[in-house]
């Protein structure tokens, strides 16, 4: 295939012989038809699973009736992560199964009468095509040139295939578009990232400090539950956010900060803790290095210095710092999760880590505990071949990128950007790239130059429109997957098994990976008929069995190491070069970066522009749940939060449809409705991420609201680890419909 323009195809554009996929809407009476009485649990069979609607992986039961229909999902009471209570997305997870917009058969791009269309294909045909392309790329360019961009459970199965094939050109948005800076910042300081789920001991915290993190809107189940428990016990919450978030509203101190100035506040908090001698002297003395240098470094960063930068009054800075110190060490300055904001995010995460060190909260009850996970042996397989280069090679200019950087893989696919390591083909599995990664224009240029693009998803997400081959994955309720092995206070394993057979022609990712592996002569890496065998083997190696797990769903184990918290009598060894908590980072210094966090002024909105801030809604995960019939009922569009005074100036009214234009002239594809609210600062607008879908086959999500990702054309790159800072974009409001720009 030449590097011809790859048209974005609507999936319904089927070639001759193809049957147009209908997009019937779900009848009013719901997905189970008329006259169904309320549920009678005793007549239902319980099948264990763990949720796949987000990355938290709460263990759950699927209730299946006598006719083989899934009737509801409930949390598993023995699971310490959800304690029998799923979040709205988990409860509404059955909608992922019943969504009739799902991908139903493999689809292959063909050219017909000069037009590119998708044709329905058999699995044989589609898999042969993908395997042949994999062979061809390997012969022509080397296996490293076939990249995997992935997320979640399907991604893991394909990562195995790709490594067996010889490619470790693997990246996921979870690093450079999400939590990478925080993991790197904490690792540099404590020798360990906070992990997922984070090792925050919220349950026993007396003070919780949230920097832009909006627990309750990000529905990370255990954190929401434990925050609620902590509220019952009288926790004091300090929230730093330009928006009165749900949790800001529950806070003792809400600091409505000027966006982009968090670093100044963090430095002045350090100043107060040190110069008012509120820090944990014994802990700092025993466990850290670089305190004296830090003391000198923050001397100038007084609350009075921070005030004109942050808009937070000096008295408030002092009061909130004292509040943290009173509760220490049971004070958590939360590491957050989606922290790619302004390009100095690793340094901001370092500042957060240093504050925790000063408060003595790492390794203390009510601070950060030492998490543990199971040691589950790997199913026997030959060693992976060693690739000549990989995603790390592409990101060598980011010395602390310890995972693949999505943007670098994408850029390595552009001919003019590539010297020696050229990416020629992608598999995209479980991530809707045009909504999970910014710089749409760059992604589209890269895709245009690819020789081959295969997309694996359950839904006709936007990224499928660019594919040469689309492989329909079944939902988590229809498949086996890896055992869940979450790091937590105590280790556990959880089982996901099929509650029902896959709908339509959809298939599990493990099956696709195995089929492709066999076609590539890699059968030794897939030495099983069914993934059930792998699970079975692994469970027997951790002292249980598939039979037992079918009844339990989740099994909890005792810790191997004794201490959930630091042993106060012993000397704690940290996995840093000095073996101590590194307030001063020699590693950063040696790599040419600041050894201590410093405040850098970021660009402010130009005249008539507002800073675009985005976040989560508790009933949605990224862009992937908007079409879910149940979750769509709860929230089917995002709204433009705007301060009423600003709205008045712009002469806007509630519910008015407006378009957004960013600093580079990028205009939202669809209009968004105005929500005037006092909960947002006057210099910013806010919207929930993940809306504004432009694929018509997402019948419920199509054209609803605006896509924040599309409006992010300016990236503030983190030079330490390659994070893509996304908060440096500004928008202005258009009240007239701009030139029709709806994509195909």
């Amino acid at each position: 295939m030449e590097t011809t323009r790859r048209d974005f195809i609507k999936i319904s554009s089927l070639g001759a012989g193809g049957v147009a996929l209908t997009s019937t809407t779900i009848p009013l009476s719901g997905i189970f038809g008329k006259k169904k009485p309320a549920l009678d649990d005793e007549k239902l069979t319980k099948i264990p699973t763990y949720c796949d609607i987000c990355f938290w992986k709460c263990a759950a039961w699927a209730f299946v009736d006598a006719t083989g229909k899934i009737r509801k999902l409930e949390g598993n009471k023995n699971d310490l992560l959800d304690r029998g209570r799923l979040c709205p997305r988990g409860t509404g997870g059955i909608g992922a199964y019943y969504d009739d917009d799902r991908l139903k058969t493999p689809l292959v791009r063909i050219e017909e009468d000069g037009e590119q269309v998708f044709k329905e294909a058999s699995w044989e045909e589609a898999l042969d095509l993908v395997a042949n392309k994999m062979k061809e790329i390997k012969e022509k360019h080397g296996p490293e040139s076939f990249a995997l961009l992935k997320h979640g459970s399907p991604g893991k199965h394909f990562a195995h295939l790709f490594q067996a094939y010889g490619s470790n050109t693997i990246a996921e948005p979870a690093f450079a578009q999400c939590r990478g800076p925080r993991d790197v910042g904490f690792k540099l300081t404590f020798g360990k990232p906070p992990g997922s789920p984070e090792n925050t001991d919220l349950r026993d915290a007396k003070c919780i400090v949230l920097i832009g993190s909006h627990i309750g809107e990000n529905m990370h189940n255990s954190q929401v539950q434990e925050l609620s428990d902590a509220i019952d016990k009288g926790v004091s919450i300090i929230t730093v956010d330009p928006r009165l978030s749900t949790v800001a509203n529950k806070s003792k101190f809400w600091l409505p900060i000027r966006p982009s100035t968090d670093m100044a506040l963090l430095l002045s908090w350090m100043h107060v803790l040190i110069y008012e001698e509120l820090y944990d002297k014994e802990y700092v003395e025993k466990n850290t290095t670089g305190f004296e240098e830090l003391k000198k470094h923050v001397r100038q960063f007084t609350p009075e210095w921070a005030y004109p930068i942050t808009d937070i009054k000096p008295e408030m800075i002092r009061k909130s710092a004292r509040e943290m110190a009173i509760s220490a060490p049971s004070t958590i300055v939360h590491p957050g999760r989606h922290v790619v904001w302004y390009g100095d995010d690793t340094q901001r995460s370092r500042a957060i880590a240093i504050l925790n060190a000063l408060l003595g909260s790492w390794g203390r009850r009510g601070g950060f505990y030492f998490s543990e996970k199971m040691r589950i042996p790997k199913y026997p397989q030959p060693p992976y071949p060693k690739p000549k280069w990989d995603a790390h090679t592409l990101s060598h200019h980011f010395p602390f990128a310890n995972h693949g950087v999505t943007g670098d893989v994408i850029k390595a696919s552009l001919i003019e950007k590539t010297k020696e390591h050229h990416v020629k083909a992608w598999m995209v599995a479980g991530t809707n790239l045009t909504k999970s990664v910014p710089e749409r224009a760059v992604i589209e240029s890269a895709i245009n130059e690819l020789e081959f693009l295969v997309v694996v998803d359950t839904m006709p997400m936007e990224i499928t429109g660019y594919a040469d081959v689309i492989l329909p994955e079944c939902t988590y309720l229809e498949r086996y997957d890896q055992l869940r092995n979450s790091s937590w206070r105590t280790p556990s394993v959880a089982l996901r098994m099929p509650a029902v057979k896959p709908k339509y022609q959809s298939k599990p990712a493990w099956w696709m990976a195995k089929q492709l592996g066999e076609r590539l002569g890699l059968q030794d890496y897939f030495d099983y008929e069914d993934y059930e065998e792998v699970i079975k083997w692994q469970l027997e190696h951790v002292g249980t069995s598939l039979e037992e797990m079918k009844h339990l769903g989740v099994k909890n184990y005792d810790r191997r190491s004794k201490n959930l918290y630091m042993d106060e009598k012993a000397t704690q060894k940290f996995k840093t070069p000095s073996g101590k908590i590194e307030l001063y980072s020699q590693k950063l210094k040696d790599a040419g970066f600041e050894p201590f966090p410093v405040y850098k002024e970021h660009e402010r909105p130009p005249k008539n522009y507002l800073r675009m801030i985005y976040g989560r809604a508790p009933m949605h995960t990224f862009s992937k749940t908007v079409n879910n019939p149940y979750l769509n009922e709860l929230k089917n569009e995002n709204l433009l939060w705007i301060n009423p005074r600003v709205a008045k100036k712009w002469n806007l009214h509630y519910g008015q449809k407006v378009w957004l234009k960013n600093q580079d002239g990028v205009i939202s594809t669809f209009p968004i409705k105005v929500r005037m609210t006092e909960r947002i600062r006057w210099d910013s607008i806010y919207m929930v991420h993940g809306f504004g879908h432009n694929n018509k086959n997402l019948t419920r999500a199509y054209s609803k609201g605006a896509s924040d990702t599309k409006l992010i054309s300016k990236i503030l790159t983190d030079p330490i680890m390659g994070g893509t800072g996304l908060r440096g974009n500004f928008v202005t409001i258009l009240t007239e419909e701009p030139t029709k720009n709806i994509e195909s």
Binding site: S29, F32, K34, R85, P88, T91, G216, M219, L244
Partner: protein, 178 residues
């Protein structure tokens, strides 16, 4: 026996899990709901606060829907739960008009009026209503106000609370801790 629901607005995060759990449990038709979440904002930035409330039928002691129902389809059962007998409901809508909480809707396909039942079918089996049992923040409590040792009795005895539209004189049985 007097069933009441107590909802702690200080813990609620407005996630709407109660809404989707009810929808799944009770086969509430798409586009309708038996419970819903309300947000009310007070003040001016930055002196601003808001409240999330999960709302539903208040199972009033002095229920206008029961008084206005011409057929007796709307009735109160033991424990004070207000129910609708679908077979007796003629769909006249008088109860919908009379409810100050807008808690009732005409079932689009079956014709009768529908609303929250406090998940009576679950109570009969000793389970909590679906909304209460699913809530991740555990901000919802359900129990017997006649039992002084129940969680709900203790909470109402010790915490500041309110009901919705007290001026309507309906004696509602869904309480909000504030």
């Amino acid at each position: 026996m007097r069933y009441v629901m107590v909802i702690d607005t200080n813990k609620c995060v407005g996630c709407s899990d109660c809404v989707v759990a009810c929808q799944v449990e009770n086969h509430v038709p798409m586009g309708y709901c038996r419970d819903w979440v309300v947000e009310t904002v007070n003040g001016t930035y930055p002196s601003v606060s808001f409240e999330f409330r999960s709302e539903r039928c208040n199972h009033c002691d002095n229920a206008p829907c029961v008084r206005t129902c011409p057929t007796g389809a709307s009735h109160i059962i033991e424990g004070g739960i207000v129910l609708v007998t679908p077979e007796e409901c003629i769909g006249c809508g008088a109860c919908i008009e009379s409810c100050p909480y807008d808690a009732r809707y005409p079932h689009p396909e079956e014709g009768h009026v529908d609303k929250c039942t406090f998940c009576n079918h679950r109570l009969e089996k000793g389970e909590l209503p679906a909304c209460v049992s699913v809530c991740p923040t555990k901000c919802m409590y359900f129990g017997d106000l006649d039992d002084a040792n129940s969680d709900v009795s203790k909470l109402l005895a010790t915490r500041q609370h309110k009901v919705l539209a007290p001026e309507a004189g309906t004696k509602p049985r869904v309480y909000y801790l504030i």
